[in-house]
Amino acid sequence: MTPIDMAIQAGIWALEILAIAAPVALSVAYITYFERRIIGWVQVRQGCNRVGPAGLLQPLADGLKLFLKETIIPARANKLLFVGAPLMSLVPALIAFAVVPFGETSLFGIWDTPHVMAISNLNMGLLYVMAISSLSIYGVLMAGWASNSKYPIIGSIRSTCQMISYEIAMGFGLVTVMMLAGSLNLSDIVHAQAGGILHWYMIPLFPMLIVYFISGCAEVGRTPFDLTETEELVSGYHTEYSGMWFATFSLAEYGAMILISLMTSILFLGGWYAPIPALDIIPGTVWLLGKSAFLIFVFIWFRATFPRYRYDQMMRLGWKIFLPWTLGWIFVVGLFIYTPGLDSIIDFWLAWR
């Protein structure tokens, strides 16, 4: 490989990264807008409608405001970790997008075979996403500890417990997907669901879809699982944060929310495939983003609808309900796959047979 080739390759990678990171950041801004509008609509009020037509410039104004505000670092805080914590929660949220396949394209017929639109079509994609998203705990934990203040530390401890608990249920839920798809590669998992809505994994794995999505909700810390930032904790681990550092946390939170929605669409809702094969003339990316947009709407809908869980209730849901459920479902799926006679039922979804 000559240096020029390497430079070109590096340039392509940089463009690919930019092509994903910039839209994510932009959509985060507008998800906050839609969140306020939708919640307003649910609660029969207006939502933000002052800045720009129908309030569309509101996110930009908010961003500007946060950017101009002073970042206060408490005097007794551990400065290095206090400043590092928001980055530590943002970076995992962004680099997890590296393996997400956004669709398949042959670039208007230039390539012979369709290529998967992902920065890296990693064989371990699913595990990669799990591993990377588990890292976001550190940002929260460090923020709480480095602030050297009581409420943040309580908030971060709660949040860590919550994340760890629901990660387990999430991981086990994904095992059933791996069992059916026979692969950890995200694009292979989508390919295994080709052929219309009946092939989607939400049919055989419906309980896992529910578990995964709700666990995702808890993982991100959205209502009804937003115990980390409740009023009694004065907004939890980011009590002491202000300005851009505070915004970084919400960027990470919304980024993770987008990721969970994308992953749910890819793993359970057929990824970039249309519900009816005839509709596949519409580009796959549109389908994928559409499904994710709907799931993001569900997130917001949850927030407008459900009251917050109490801490023990949340732990109970994670450990005593989701975990046995997922384990049971793994057992059931395994039973179906390996029992002669029963396996003909599940063969329909088994890509690797």
Binding site: Y338, T339, P340, D343, S344, D347
Partner: protein, 486 residues
């Protein structure tokens, strides 16, 4: 359609693991079962004891002239494993019997027996392993259970301290063991003892440093587990802090498993390095014998005293390893069997003396035992004489065979040294006898009345006398157990 093929012929191989499977399944069953039994019920305990018996029956029914191998050679079932498994069954069953009364006031007693069964499972796997993978996993399974068992009485401060010390040092020693294994693996590219031994025999000159380093770490790691001296520091604290039945259990069963694996390693892995490991072991044995026997003199607490006495016994057992001959190995088995019986008997008496508030643990507490309970006093006296190695009790023959093997192998000075310290050791054993027979009662005695435990004391005492008079059967049994190993 389903084209599932099992990677190995299903029943043939799994049948070899029948005892292990019985124990594992019963342990998991008891874990659930215990939730439904009434508090204070001993059903779980009796079922756990029955499980050890069932495992014994299964082992007995499986044994044959040829060694069985399962799981791609990761599990062996030879006569050596059978013999050591029986020692482990007996130790575990006796440990459970000793716990019946002692632990009955604990909350959540079910898990206690479950953990004991799992510890037994770990040791069973250890003695059946001929490679580092199974050995290490078995060792960790056993160790993890014993850590928890030591800390079982959570509200007792010294139990916590003991468990913490034991755990930290145990974890350190596991790390050392693993580190040693990685070096040996790096040189040989295998985990199997026999294959590694073959490779080491043909290892070229420049591999020696790595092999030596691996071996040193291996011996240090295993030395921790069987409490060889400089790695014995955890022993007195762990013995003192643990509930007494656990002390009894852990002073016997893990030592059996540890020495069995030591013998397998010495026989299969290290024959090419006989000179090197012998010189290391001689140094360690000299230290172990001295530390064990000298430090025991200063102890006022009988559990601590027995801990140091264990260290001393370990030193004597190591003489068999140093001999490295079939006679030495069978001597180790003889020693372990007799040591098992003596130790269990002693701890049974100690537990029977547990009183409200005061545990019969200080040496003073034994004062005047002969006037109140001559039976117990006699048994205790017999055990102490036997541990000291007074002729025509079991303990004498145990020392005799090991020392003879060492003399035959040409380690006369070491044996003389060991004899000297065994005389020193006789002092503190006989001191207990002095308290029992010649001192006046100071505190009123108050005994637990428990038939199974009294039976244990009786049976162990009779066995010690019997083995002292007719040791030949045991010698023969141990010699036959070694067929196939050396």
């Amino acid at each position: 359609m389903a084209n599932v093929t099992f990677p190995f012929p299903f029943p043939d191989h799994l049948i070899t693991l029948m005892p292990e499977m019985i124990v594992a399944i019963m342990a998991m069953f008891l874990l659930l079962f215990d939730v439904f039994v009434a508090k204070g019920s001993k059903t779980t305990a009796y079922l756990a004891i029955a499980t050890t018996v069932a495992a014994g029956v299964a082992t007995w029914s499986l044994q044959g002239p040829d060694p069985l191998v399962a799981f791609y050679g990761f599990f062996v079932f030879d006569s050596f494993a059978v013999f050591s498994k029986f020692l482990i069954y007996v130790a575990t069953a006796l440990g459970m019997i000793l716990s019946l009364e002692y632990m009955k006031n604990e909350k959540h007693i079910g898990e206690y027996y479950v953990l004991m069964l799992f510890a037994m499972l770990g040791m069973m796997l250890m003695v059946s392993s001929n490679n580092f993978v199974t050995m290490y996993l078995g060792l960790e399974l056993m160790a993890l259970c014993v850590y928890v068992l030591v800390a079982y009485q959570r509200e007792v401060l010294r139990a916590n301290e003991a468990a913490l010390k034991y755990f930290i040092l145990g974890a350190l020693s596991s790390g050392m063991l693993l580190y040693g294994i990685t070096f040996l693996y790096g040189v040989t590219g295998s985990f199997d003892f026999a294959v590694m031994g073959e490779k080491l025999a043909h290892a070229e000159g420049d591999a020696t440093a790595a092999v030596m380093l691996g071996m040193v770490f291996l011996i240090a790691g295993l030395g921790f587990k069987v409490s060889m001296a400089p790695f014995h520091m955890w022993t007195p604290d762990a013995y003192e802090g643990a509930p007494t039945p656990v002390t009894a259990f852990m002073s016997v069963a893990p030592k059996v498993a540890g020495f069995v694996i030591f013998m397998r390693i010495v026989a299969d892995l290290l024959p090419a390095l006989q000179h090197e490991y012998q010189s290391i072991l001689i140094g360690v044995a000299v230290l172990t014998i001295a530390v064990g026997n000298l430090a025991a003199i200063a102890q006022r607490n009988i559990k601590r005293m027995l801990a140091y006495s264990t260290v001393g016994h370990v030193g004597f057992i190591m003489m068999g390893l140093i001999a490295g001959s079939p006679a030495g190995f069978s001597g180790i088995l003889v020693y372990l069997s007799i040591y098992l019986v003596m130790t269990m008997g002693v701890f049974a008496v100690i537990i029977l003396m547990r009183r409200e508030g005061i545990q019969g643990e200080l040496l003073d507490d034994f004062a005047g035992l002969s006037k109140v309970r001559p039976g117990y006093a006699l048994a205790m006296g017999l055990f102490m004489f036997s541990m000291a190695g007074i002729p025509f009790l079991g303990g004498f023959w145990a020392k005799y065979v090991v020392f003879m093997a060492a003399v035959e192998a040409g380690h006369l000075y070491l044996v003389l040294y060991a004899l000297l310290f065994s005389a020193v050791g006789a002092f503190y054993y006989l001191r207990v006898v002095k308290y029992i027979y010649f001192d006046e009662e100071r505190v009123a005695f108050n005994f637990i009345e428990s038939r199974p435990m009294q039976a244990t004391v009786f049976v162990t005492a009779v066995t010690i006398v019997f083995l002292g008079l007719f040791p030949d059967a045991l010698f023969e049994l141990c010699r036959q157990a070694l067929v196939g190993l050396v």
